[in-house]
Symmetry: D2
Subunit: 142 residues, 4 copies
């Protein structure tokens, strides 16, 4: 219920160090992209695991905003990542997120991470966000 | 590389108590279905969590057989399940599996579980199977 | 806040098919044990994965009861299991659970599973239960 | 089989940007600590999730080195994190890792993360590392 532009504006203000681009943000889905910087690279010319985890976490957060409106106090409660292939150090990382459940207090989604332009994911994430209680109360009043 | 019929025959011989039907078995994908029995039902008219976990685990195993050939000694090393909605006690459970990575020693896949005829999954699983070393050796010789 | 005896009585009434013994139930901790039956055994003389998952899930449920009182409507939202070693088909399985967080709406705990009398766990589980909203309301009123 | 000093030297050379201190490194166990920097802080005065994930991942890597010797090519294959409490922005983060299984090709361990000086963990991680095949070959020759 928040547009791509609204979400981008909120994220830039709240997390100024978190550099990424929103490619698409729909109901229960979002795609974001991030340039790989020197800080993200690991020996052997690949991208660090925490870089991938962080981007997946952000993709879930963006998908929540685009689905139920900007929700700053949504917090990650669980994140499970499988590393599948070595990402390229010289390609952007793209995170494609799909929400599996949007509940009253929990949102569950999955994220496939790609080195841009390749078909096979470099990692796959399933994560859960806990929504703030105020949201549930609002929902009950609606 | 094994057909639906071959896999069904192998499973019936190796796991005679594991009742399920293979709906489809392709390269890196499988769909199976299972009737919900009285043993699977929990108070409140829903299906037990272990029933869902077991079916997802079987779907991954079937997808491995259909992708690399019958591999009896593949064993689950990790399984992560998110329960999303209450399954119906009076509908079959359908498990749709897609393999994300088929490596030399590890296979990773995801499974969406549905109460038959409904669009939203009741649970979502990501699992890892470890392949027996002999397979890697064979693969290297091929 | 519920005793071992209270929990055993509740479980026997609510889940008559779920055979297990409560060895210990304390604040934020529980240990349960289960005989391995013919139904649980897999080819090769080991115990099936779903048997282990089910016992870990039950151990979490028992620890919740012993910590906050009998809570029938607590439901598993996430369960992550790593299979570590082959369990013995001829030994009881013991599940040792410790709760890591008891929140207003979520409880997170870990479970180590053993073939009785051995030191190294056969599997390790981390699971999350969602507590029913009524409980939170009660807690807020207290 | 590698000492705390050896591991610290290896990590400083291989990952010069990864700032942390090894508090203890034993067989199947390691404790590391990390100062929280401005980059790690999230709005609301807490520590970002990716900071915690990265530290847990490093703790597992250090515990592998201290158990089987320096193994640069061990790579994370799965990581599951539960966020339990808000970490303090003004306290170091301490990661206490214990290996649950050291296999021929997979190592599984758990990590509890604390804001220094507090008893309740802020997060809990279970992770799997895949060991390079050369290691298995060496192990077989020993």
């Amino acid at each position: 219920m928040a547009t791509k532009e609204d979400i981008a504006k909120f994220m830039a203000a709240a997390f100024p160090r978190n550099q990424f681009t929103i490619v698409d943000a729909q109901n229960k889905a979002a795609t974001i992209r991030r340039r790989v910087t020197e800080d993200d690279i690991r020996p052997g010319g690949t991208v660090s695991g925490p870089t991938l985890m962080a981007l997946a976490d952000t993709a879930l957060y963006v998908a929540i905003h685009s689905t139920i409106g900007i929700t700053p106090h949504a917090v990650t409660s669980n994140l499970n990542i499988n590393f599948l292939r070595r990402p390229s150090a010289d390609k952007d990382i793209v995170a494609v997120c799909r929400l599996l459940k949007v509940g009253r207090s929990l949102v569950v989604g999955e994220v496939s991470l790609y080195s841009e332009g390749t078909d096979d994911p470099v990692a796959h994430v399933v994560g859960t966000y806990a929504l703030p209680p105020s949201r549930s109360e609002q929902a009950q009043n609606t």
